[in-house]
Assembly symmetry: C2
Homo-oligomer: 158 residues x 2
């Protein structure tokens, strides 16, 4: 069967080995007080975080630039597998209300490498090549890369 | 908190009272052999149906025009509450791969009116006013209305 509405995967992806067990990384992704400590690339911050971590649960991440201007971002969790996988999208602001734009779906996967180390993969799919390119130009690799460094530094202390 | 990516609800909605209990209507929405009998407005038909009815499960509805041209439509279920609610979208072709376009989210709600009658509501939300209008011009009320008549006629025989 030919798919009418299938699309190529407009993907951006980042993989790191983090020197911490999966449970600590998952905790850092799902606990508001921890998320605030690493989610935005410094000198940006994340002063306000709300998360209902379950399929269909909504989230709100408010990022702040160095001048204190705040940028709220709402989304919904699509899939939650404790210590293994987290999928979220900005396509909905709550279950199941379309957002202003379906821009991306993010998937975090945590693979146990043994010895307390974890293969960390962040995959972001987009609805169009235009959006994928825009996200890359917005600094996906630099921004998500820096946040992943901040995440790794945080979980090392947990 | 002001929402950055909230949108007004670009909604189309249809409500009917159907002379059948909720369980029969839910069954007609979730059983491929039954879906084939009412899903497309005649003289269109639905010769092929695949459904994995659970949150994150994919579906495929192949509709056929009177000349036999086939139009496959893929989507994913977002929420399934037996005999009460079914939410699906064409924004994904499988969990969680973006489709060519996030066009709509459909919600079917079944309310028990007693005496074996059901209040049937189909609500469709879109990502833009442009898409809502396009869907209306495609014949939403006529098409979904005719399908609902076909559905009501089918469940009367179950």
């Amino acid at each position: 069967m030919i798919e009418q509405n299938a699309a190529p995967k407009y993907e951006l992806s980042l993989t790191r080995v983090i020197d911490a067990p999966r449970s600590k990384i998952f905790k850092a992704w799902t606990t508001p007080e921890l998320v605030k400590q690493w989610f935005a690339p410094l000198p940006w911050t994340t002063p306000h975080v709300e998360m209902d971590v379950r399929p269909g649960g909504a989230n709100l991440f408010v990022m702040s630039d160095p001048d204190g201007n705040e940028f709220p971002n709402r989304g919904v969790y699509l899939e939650v597998v404790e210590n293994e996988k987290l999928v979220f999208t900005d396509a909905f602001t709550s279950a199941w209300v379309p957002s202003a734009k379906a821009f991306m779906v993010g998937t975090i996967t945590l693979e146990d490498l043994g010895g307390g180390r974890t293969k960390y993969t962040a995959t972001v799919l987009h609805w169009s090549e235009e959006d994928r390119q825009a996200h890359e130009k917005m600094g996906f690799y630099e921004g998500w890369g820096q946040c992943t460094d901040q995440l790794a530094a945080l979980v090392a202390k947990l």
